[in-house]
Symmetry: C2
């Protein structure tokens, strides 16, 4: 068994421990990132059932070989011939000691829950505790290495792409270029739709790239990421084409101050809500609080949005090993906006910024 | 109001008609492709509530401007400040005639369903009939034009990409090239993960591109698609590097025969299951039935898998205006596989194949 498989076996053991304290006999995982975290399986069709003495990865014939290679003995591979839940029912049938099973209420549809109830009629279903999500929020060395590489890949692609910016290039063209550079650098997928916005469109926090061409004096906002071994990076930079105007310099400087304030609030046992509050207070002091409509950040890992959540009402507490984005922004409708997003690791001493590229207002 | 907006208004009217026959006072749509189909809104955060006399598109502040532009008067834009479902509750509060609301049981998680129950405590929730899915399965002229363009874009990208194939290119490199060509041709997103498999890996129906380099004599299987205006294409071609061996020729010929048989079964009022059966019978006659493990096809449109479903136990009936894939395959473990996938429109006279590129076993 490889070291990676040992790690996954340990994670499953931790989950089993929590099941016992919640009075659950077993766990059914259906959320793909949770399945991947516990078993290594990265296919799109799977269920992981964790029983007291065994674990089974149910998939369909398309993924039989891949599942065997990826799961590497951590769970038995069960190939469903007639739907995953009918295979699950078959598996549970002879295990009469398994009565109470935890399921992921946030990821199972009402229809699928009904089907589980019908097929596994002797099972009592209850909510699975957030054990896997909590484990996932604290990254180990291998996970950090993957995220680090995802950050480096994204930053290299950014540098190459910025070198191609010119007047008359469109947002869509630059987004296509950036996506290609990400893939050439080794990113195996896009964790989210790449955002390239220019001019007044930078004031839209979620602009899809359009046919708009760049013009002298434009702000350019790029929000993008890479995926390495399933782990994401998520970076935003705002630059200017030519010489920035005073208002562009002004809001960019205020965003950087908000970011400094947010970073200073990041430390183990700190409240996630305080990070958001720090950025917001900084922008409010500059009378820009109402131009910052979204939360300051979120965890990244196997998903581009995961725990801990950095928003005003978050109840999460930071821990060493969390990796979060810090992304304050200021958006002036009809004029333009600035957002700067760093990927940040929580360490014992406070925080370490993983992103290396300059956050200054670069003039292209 | 634009013609596109009129079309969407008509679709909402049809949905209202079905609500009445099901004893529902309103519909809550949460599945993004259904929301887009009815309202035009393409953002990732939305709910569409269809009431007897009005419709509301609930989104968050990030999509306020985009929603206004896309929805174009078909529904009122409601910007949620504190979560979409709390805005929904507020909206329903003053409308006491709205008691029974249909929701999409296949797309609402158990947790979200609970939240709806708590927030909208006077509502009786029931399953929404599959009206929108049924409407979506029959494409109008504008939708067909988008799918046609998605097919053309994909085929142009394929031709450009095949011209770059050489020994020592890896699957990952060719997949990156193909994805870039798709984007340069105008595809705004990848409907699914591009598959490039070579050699014995072509026997894996869902192979992720690997670091394997191509070698003389390899089969090469490419399964990919483009997205235009939200509409997908989905095409597979299998080619050979050099001169094919007899077994490669043999299984390719049998796959083409299975495809001919499947196409011949496509006509209005035909059973979707018969299309699958025809392909399967053809391969069984060649003693290859057990090497064809997946279903023969599926509808494409705003989603890459939608109705009608072409599998053995499908209860769907074909209608003029359906667009489906036809993708028989033969997979010989450890040796290699062949799949050929066409996109096909059901027309009054039978069918029309939308894909133009040759299905012959091309020698590169």
């Amino acid at each position: 068994m490889t070291a990676a498989a040992e790690t996954r076996r340990d994670r499953i053991t931790k989950l089993r421990g929590e099941l016992a304290t919640h009075g659950l006999d077993a766990a059914l995982l259906t959320h793909a990132p949770n399945i991947r975290y516990l078993s290594g399986f990265s296919g799109s069709s799977g269920m992981l059932v964790v029983l007291p003495e065994e674990a089974g990865l149910i998939t369909d014939f398309r993924y039989e070989q891949q599942a065997g290679e990826e799961v590497d003995g951590v769970a038995e591979i069960l190939v469903a011939r007639d739907g995953l839940s009918s295979m699950l029912a078959e598996r549970l049938k002879d295990r009469s000691q398994v009565r109470k099973v935890g399921f992921e209420a946030g990821y199972v549809s009402v229809r699928d829950r009904r089907e589980l109830g019908e097929r596994c009629s002797s099972v009592v279903w209850d909510d699975l505790p957030q054990t896997v999500e909590r484990l996932r929020a604290v990254k180990d060395a291998d996970e950090l290495a993957s995220i680090d590489r995802a950050v480096q890949v994204a930053e290299r692609a950014l540098e190459e792409t910025l070198a191609t910016v010119d007047e008359d290039v469109t947002e869509l063209e630059l987004a296509t270029e950036l996506r290609h550079r990400l893939a050439l650098q080794g990113s195996t997928g896009e964790p989210f739709e790449t955002i390239v916005a220019s001019g007044e469109r930078t004031a839209l926090p979620h602009a899809s790239p359009s046919e708009r061409s760049f013009r002298e004096g434009d702000l350019l906002l790029l929000d993008f990421g890479a995926t390495i071994d399933g782990y994401c990076s998520d970076i935003t930079r705002t630059v200017v084409l030519g010489t920035p105007t005073p208002w562009q310099r002004e809001i960019h400087a205020r965003v950087l101050e908000a970011q400094e304030a947010a970073l200073a609030a990041i430390r183990p046992e700190g409240a996630a809500a305080d990070v958001d509050r720090a950025a917001r207070a900084s922008l409010e002091a500059a009378e820009l609080g109402d131009r910052f409509g979204h939360s300051v950040g979120h965890g990244i890992g196997l998903e581009v949005h995961e725990g801990p959540r950095l928003f005003r009402k978050s109840k999460d507490t930071l821990e060493a090993g969390n990796v979060v984005t810090v992304e304050p922004g200021v958006y002036l409708a009809g004029k333009g906006g600035v957002r700067v997003e760093e990927d940040v690791l929580v360490v014992e001493a406070g925080h370490r910024v993983l992103t290396c590229s300059s956050t200054a207002l670069r003039e292209l």
